[in-house]
Symmetry: D2
Subunit: 440 residues, 4 copies
């Protein structure tokens, strides 16, 4: 491809310019090679651009027409390859290591049969492999789209139609094989249609069993082909369905326990899915860490006043620093990373909007990583938690030691006490004040 | 007690008067002895009045003073016994079989030591046993209050203070022993303070482990004393804490799996807790049934526009019929029942409000039971679900039969198909229309 | 058009079959000619089918492709006229009096200039006029789509681009002129993009002023051309924008007061918009009635667990009866009516789904009208409210009579009282129980 | 009072220590005398401590007992005066200018008649006046509690009982007279019970009229006694009632317009009330500014996952800076100020929690004021908005100039255009990125 075909030719490589840089096209905080707690920023954050919102989406919404006029989408004929070019070029320009996509982001499904689609996909996939070789850019999240095709109208794995189950399974096999070829870091299952719209026409036990079988088949195939990536379930409580089975991290844990999949599957947490489920972003990350399920993270933000997935670019350092603290304290990512599953507002129509949105969000994560580093070095949160629970570390305390083995023993112990236990201040406001000192 | 001391003396026994009765003090639908699908209405519904809202509460809220002037609360001195009298008399007047209470409903905790409280509680408990003998009224849900005392400010089982853990354990032992004596049908754990207000000062792994240990101790004690009742966890997502660990049924399932308590503990579902967690009432019942956790039900309703537990009396026949259908289809209650965990509005100050609220809600459940009976007899929902999933019952279908054992086989099968699978209409609106015919 | 071209040829005219009819294609309650409180059911309900969801929409959503395969949409070439045929035929089959549409429902906007669009629209509009003449079907709500075109990405009336304001104005003029020709009962303004996504880039005073000017221009034009219909604003709090200026009825009232438009503009209330704004459907109707703004109603329902406009077909008799009671008590519709702004679930793919959904919802309204009739005849709610406020009808009470003209006089009056006022029971549960008797 | 009676004797006066101070008991940003945009920080922020949460509340909630053991509450007998002492001492220690209270914060209402209460109140009020004289501390918000007394169970101004209306009026007169004596900056009306719990038993027109009359009486009395303070309505959408009439700023605007009270009454915005109403804090401030209603601000924060008023101490610099920007751009406070209507978590039981919570929140506002100063000096937001709407400033543009006076003229103009208008990018992400540079 000649220089003339470049889409971001006017944009110089985005580099680290330091906190005082006046250029909106330089990083203020993200310095890929900078060492933070023993790893480079790049190794910590493992940043990924998402293909679907940034390259495949044309700016339409439920209420309105497309608003983006992207050069790579203009020529219908070769737009698939051109869009791949644009995406890789963009990731190179940003200087981040990963891209994430669904099969249908790379190649739209307008085929009469699955065989035709998979055949066409083969050449697209080869083109992507070639780009990976040329650029060194990797794939963070690979996934098959199991929700857009009309066949998935009533579910993919949980469809009442076994042929739809098979169709979904075939798409997963196709993409999982590609993921192995591309050495994708993770393979993600998002069950956007695997839920219900009306409980009256739904058999929960059947659908849960179908979903259990589907995930088990996916895990088996991973092992069969020797794919090294992690299998991740992405929780979301609703939208498009009224209720989705992978509601939140706690629900996914129970599901994996029920179908004996613990140890084989982790979660891909999305900030805005957390908030739709009634949780904070940090809650879902902390919960996944506590349950041993923390796989990868889709970094975006929702709107606190809107009840749907707004997928905005993340920028809240206070929230992100807490997430980074939880992540790094938990050992950091293994094969996971931060994927910007965020989209421009529909009237942010300039290419520069796309670029600056990514730069600013990358910086937000980088700055938050620095805050987390300081929190960890000072042991600020760790110390507060240690102090708060220290009575439980007193091994000789009869409640702790196990000397009081049952309720009767605990009862006798309590009855022998001349006073009632007192609650010690949780010091929440003081802790919040201290935390704020790290943020602002 | 002489007749003069009666609180509901002016109210005749509430009896079944039939759908056309003009008396607000007769049942229109609840006919205790009526046989529905092989059991009496009384056996199906196993109705219980809740002591805390109806007899212990005085009408105050966060913003205002007490508004109720109940005769049994007037004389401070003997009010505990008088309140017990009033409660049993009320349940008798209604003609329902059960009452439900916390330890502190029967006896307020104003004691300097636990021993003193437990000593005083003994005589109160004896008085309750005597009333049970006299009246034949049973206890549906017995529970220890682990949230009101100042000691529980930062949690009961999950308190950072082991002495609070012990205090909570002692209260459970005391109440569990009483529950055995009273032959309470169920023992409930509601962890109102077992959650967090600020993730920054919380160790999730520690607190979850403490809660796991606490529930395990409770189960052990049940077996040790030979208590026949069920141990139930009552899910609630928040309030008073920002986040409670027993968030919803799915979360409790995962918790029980993690701490190896499946089979020992079931759930007590509350309608308004379901809606606070972002679920419909029917969802939580259906989920509990699907996961084998359905224990008992707190019947109330929330306000769809308010974000806290309004605990209103249930009256939506459409919703309740769905719940009754799910319950009865699942085999009905074993030791569970419907407890009216509902409270009057604070400005519903007349005793007649309390009475009519219960009568109307009992009737709502009775009518819903009749709707459920018809739905089951006609197999209306069953047939719709059967039709919808019938492709999965075709044992020779290669996806169903297991002939296609892995993703590769499914892929080959799909690729050999000359067309894509089609989604069949979910017929949701038609089903809703049909369902409406049963309701209205 | 020959019979062969009919889309609902297999469906006989939907007629009233009575409550016991076994046909899903007959009305159980809607008997157009039946007299209720002095008017026919048809005159009370003034039912309208909405064109956009039922005829223009193809079953796509943000996450997925089109799922409907409607015969009238198959032939791209003449689909506009065929869709008009289908819509009128459907309304005739249902036997209801009205249809409602946007300009772009009748003719999609794929034109390079406004002039071309308006020219093409002229012939489409003529075709609609012809259908109106032939069928006697009227138009309940006519409206210009000011949200779908890319030009409206940042607002229509409130766009930062005056040319977009002009474009929106031209579309309104075009449609208002058509509305006059078609004798549309109402002209609706829904400002789906007239709000903000980010307050930081928004000048509220400017945008409110622009919106005020726009509505004033619309009102002026109505008078200029002698259009007899009502101008209605349709409140919605958000979606697609974060915040829409026509948030709810109370907000619209303030807006009309500010721009001196009270008396000229009323509201078109939508059930699901009410709930998104944190209100019950009945609340918005009651509020509009209290403020003299009640124009017309979009009858649908939302999902209590989902935070977006689900636009489901209405079926809750309890809620609808309250709405009908409020409406009829307030004098009923003048030029308004009930428009079914409801859509099938995306996987309800059969034409019969569309038909039964309408039939069931029409019946829900008809049955609710009968409930309202009984509530009014018995004066059940009226009496309860009369009783509750009767102290305010005692003209001699000094607080009522005006004898106590200011705070000083009221203070002296209160200080002279030997006791404090008492709150009388609101009897909410008793009233709810009584109301339930009318519903179930 | 001797030094021995001091409650905060161990705490030295809180002073400005600079951003690097290591003391949690010094301000890092609040430097009362520092000049920011021509006024001191003290003059800008006009900080007030709220008496109810910080001095009258004892740590109880709906689910639990009191947890605070405040020295001033210990001796029941003289606790009213001691609590006043503590409050004034605390405000002095913080070095802020104002205190805010209800009548019943100063003196609990346990009286048999209103006369007795007002008589006792007189001496309490005198004591407060004396403290004001001694300390120079002023009153930011004075208000009568019209929600706690049982008499207000069904509303104050909107009670169905005219005697309750009178009782409420007398309380307002009493407090308004005190407010004048104390030179309170504002008099606030919060209608916590002036709403409905059930629309079925509510006459909206009556209740709105009563509320209109009540506010008018308050305004008249203000003028009659020559009180210089502002009358403020405090919007809140719900809690304790299902729906409150002063729902949000837009609703209050319409109410004031309807009862001809515009110009006489402004609003006291509370951050957490804004979010309960589905708005951002900044939205309500911007809306009030746009409508000319901005009076005063209750600074707290809610929990984004909880649906009730959590009243937490504010600490989000990003949100507060936007609010400060809007406030200062709008001319700043006249008689308003920032009142910390925030409360400790119930298990934050130490006095130091109370102190640090205030210090940190004061600093959060001070820092946000500095951010706002920079935003204004750089004209960052102003310029972005100017650029965005600049087409509307082109006086010769025919849409702007008024040359196109009606829809017909606009239509002709649009039809003469050879192309359609284009939407220009809203640059939301770029603006957010730029804004972030000011915050973090």
């Amino acid at each position: 491809m000649s220089q003339a075909d470049k889409y971001f030719a006017e944009i110089p490589q985005v580099i680290y310019g330091g906190a005082q840089t006046l250029s909106a096209y330089q990083y203020r905080y993200y310095d890929a090679e900078k060492i933070v707690l023993g790893k480079t920023m790049e190794q910590h954050l493992r940043l990924s651009v998402c293909y679907w919102h940034s390259f495949a989406w044309k700016g339409g919404d439920t209420f309105g027409a497309n608003t983006f006029d992207r050069p790579w989408q203009r020529q219908q004929k070769s737009s698939a390859l051109r869009t791949i070019d644009a995406a890789f070029e963009f990731v190179q320009t940003l200087g981040v290591p990963f891209l994430s996509f669904h099969d249908e982001d790379l190649l739209a499904f307008n085929h009469a049969t699955a065989r035709e689609y998979f055949n066409d996909f083969k050449s697209i996939s080869d083109y992507v492999l070639q780009k990976i070789d040329q650029t060194g850019i990797g794939v963070l999240l690979a996934t098959a789209n199991l929700f857009s095709h009309a066949a998935f109208g009533a579910g993919a794995a949980t469809s009442p139609n076994p042929d739809v189950f098979a169709f979904a399974a075939a798409k997963v096999k196709n993409m999982l094989d590609s993921a192995k070829q591309m050495d994708a870091q993770n393979y993600v299952l998002w069950g956007g249609r695997d839920g219900y719209n009306q409980l009256l026409n739904t058999s929960l036990p059947r659908e849960l069993d179908q979903l259990g079988r589907f995930v088990a088949l996916t895990v088996e195939h991973k092992h069969k082909i020797g794919y090294q990536g992690s299998i991740l379930i992405e929780p979301k409580p609703c939208e498009p369905t009224k209720h989705q089975y992978d509601y939140d991290v706690a629900t996914v844990y129970g599901f994996l326990a029920k179908y004996d999949l613990l140890g084989e599957v982790k979660v891909n947490i999305e900030a805005n899915h957390a908030t739709l489920a009634g949780h904070s972003f940090a809650h879902e990350v902390a919960y996944a860490a506590a349950l041993g399920l923390l796989g990868s993270i889709d970094a975006n933000r929702g709107d606190p006043q809107n009840g749907w997935d707004t997928d905005q670019f993340p920028n809240d350092i206070s929230e992100l620093s807490h997430v980074l603290y939880l992540l790094v304290s938990n050992g950091g990512f293994d094969r996971g990373g931060f994927n910007f599953d965020a989209k421009l507002r529909r009237d942010s129509t300039d290419l520069s909007d796309l670029l600056v949105a990514h730069i600013a969000s990358i910086d937000a994560l980088a700055k938050s990583l620095c805050v987390a580093e300081k929190l960890i070095q000072d042991n600020f949160i760790g110390e507060a938690i240690y102090q708060r629970y220290q009575a439980w570390d007193q091994r000789t305390h009869p409640v702790v030691s196990g000397a009081l083995a049952d309720l009767d023993a605990l009862y006798d112990h309590v009855c022998s006490s001349p006073h009632l236990p007192v609650s010690v201040s949780g010091k929440q406001e003081i802790l919040e004040a201290g935390y704020s000192r790290y943020i602002w």
